[in-house]
Symmetry: C2
Subunit: 201 residues, 2 copies
């Protein structure tokens, strides 16, 4: 959750709108977002709310930005404070666990949107692809740093590491949210440990 | 694709309706399915179409059944003709590759629905969970058979194998469909090979 210390009333309103929209999108999907419904939820007129975003696509993209900021603040930035290499990758996973459990009303908005928009070409899909690629690239960078630190073997394909790392998190999401499998986190933990072992120097 | 040799007109009509509904749901999601729109697409009256399904939930569940049947025919049944153990698991993956590539209009309907319904409790979610659990259990059974055949080590957790196996396929889906990463299948292939190596006797 982003903390805004002293904000203007306009920024407060925008924050309330985006937080409400994200909560809705996490449960019902980004495409189902309606400016009319959202206006009702936050107690504004439709035209007043429209003035903040101009179009549904712009609103959807700003909801993605808002969710990405949440994720970066909760998962990635705290991990960057850990020592470079494996400790930082492990911290990313630990923060992710807390973050998934916190998403009680709906799962990860990015995962949901990824499978919602994979066949809807347009600017929302492009924006989503940009966010996901940025996140996935950050995992590849973490793997490269682990090589520099001598934690991972030289010559690994860091982008392939990122694929494996993210696949297991997708699996965790599906097992914990939809299947409600109480071994979901155990499965992930063991798989992630084996993944690290497979890349270790 | 299911082939019905000699079918009654009623079964033909139902097949056309479900095929059309599945195509729509694969692109726009199962929740966006509307009996009115579907009736227009197949050239029937809304009440005529309603007569086949009685409720939107029933239609959504039958679309899932239809998709599951497609998947079983295209991926699982042909794999069961291969020798027990690793050859059968490898055949499942080879068939899955062909099946993903065939899903040109939208990705896998189950993956999309899984993330669409993870926060929509009800009979459609229960039905989806049942289908996914059945599929995932079949992967665990394949791992148990691989142990019996002496291909996998004794004492492995076959359900955890299924989690890893399915996670990599979820990742493949996201990388190939949304990210349009042309290395998606390479990444999956290497990851799957390492997964097998990790379980081999």
């Amino acid at each position: 959750m982003v903390k805004y210390g002293s904000m203007s009333k306009g920024a407060d309103t925008k924050d309330l709108i985006l937080r409400t929209a994200l909560d809705f999108a996490s449960r019902c999907g980004l495409e189902a977002l309606s400016i009319g419904e959202l206006a009702k939820k936050v107690g504004m007129s439709k035209s007043g709310l429209f003035g903040h975003f101009n179009s549904k696509e712009k609103l959807q993209m700003m909801v993605l930005d808002y969710a990405a900021n949440d994720f970066v603040q909760a998962v990635l930035l705290p991990a960057y404070k850990e020592p470079r290499g494996i400790p930082r990758i492990e911290a990313t996973v630990a923060n992710w666990y807390r973050w998934i459990e916190k998403q009680h009303s709906g799962g990860c908005p990015f995962v949901a949107a990824a499978f919602e928009y994979d066949d809807r070409p347009g600017q929302v899909q492009d924006h989503l692809r940009l966010h996901l690629s940025t996140m996935i690239n950050s995992f590849a960078t973490s793997a490269n740093i682990a090589v520099e630190e001598g934690h991972f073997r030289k010559g690994i394909d860091s982008k392939e590491f990122a694929y494996r790392f993210y696949s297991y998190l997708l699996g965790l999401h599906l097992y914990s949210k939809l299947l409600k499998d109480n071994k979901a986190f155990d499965y992930h933990k063991h798989s992630f440990e084996d993944l690290l072992a497979n890349y270790k120097a």
